[in-house]
Amino acid sequence: MTQFFLIIGVGMCVLVLLCLYRATYGPTILNRAAGISAIGTKTLIILLLMGVIYDRIDMFIDISMVYALLNFLGTVVLAKYLERSGEV
């Protein structure tokens, strides 16, 4: 079972690289914002998979909840900043 979660984690890392490409070379700033938000979501899944693999899921759930919260907040604040500065 551990190997199954390990393979899923490696696949998630590959998907993070794809999102990183979009966040780096995105034509508009909205592409970059969406890419960064997707990277945050995938990091959260990788954290939970690490928790399952190391058998400390009760600790990793706390960290992942904070990560999800701050990721959402960062996207909202970035959108507000872009709306305010009139770039979109």
Binding site: L70, V76, R84
Partner: protein, 154 residues
């Protein structure tokens, strides 16, 4: 100055999320010595609730709940709790922040006094961090706008 958002999704989501964020921040502060977290992290999550409120419902409504003056007072109270507990241990004959000595005035054994002392210090740190983070947020999002200008200067 941040206006109130027109988007019903952002406003509803913020209204639903803020109580859970505050409850989770209190959990992080209270369980700081069992699980990841502690005073600083709990304070940052508490401040995140106010940042979300300010971004979604505008700075005016946020100032009604947490103004700059109140934030300054709360940060001073937080530092005072931290330093006060440390000095109390010093007065009771231990080192600075030697929580075991608190058992004399709390009326419990040494292990419980250590646990309660750490909890008190973490509450102080969380209050100070929350207030300072709110102050930084207010200052960053009102940069270049003083209250006397009435927003005439962009």
């Amino acid at each position: 100055m941040i206006r109130e958002s027109d988007d019903v999704i952002v406003k509803t989501l913020a209204r639903l999320l803020v109580p859970f964020i505050v409850a989770y921040a209190l959990y992080v502060v209270m369980h700081g010595h069992y699980s990841p977290g502690g005073g600083f992290q709990g304070g940052v999550i508490l401040a995140a609730a106010f940042v979300l409120l300010g971004v979604s419902h505008g700075l005016e409504k946020t100032r009604r709940r947490m103004s700059e003056k109140v934030a300054g007072i709360i940060s001073s109270i937080g530092v005072f709790i931290y330093g006060g507990i440390g000095l109390l241990c010093l007065i009771l004959g231990g080192n600075y922040l030697h929580y075991g000595k608190l058992s004399k005035i709390l009326g419990v054994d040494t292990a419980h006094a250590r646990s309660l002392g750490i909890l008190g210090v973490e509450i102080g740190v969380a209050l100070a961090v929350m207030a300072v983070m709110c102050t930084i947020f207010f200052v960053l999002f009102t940069v270049g706008e003083s209250p006397e200008d009435d927003g005439s200067v962009e």
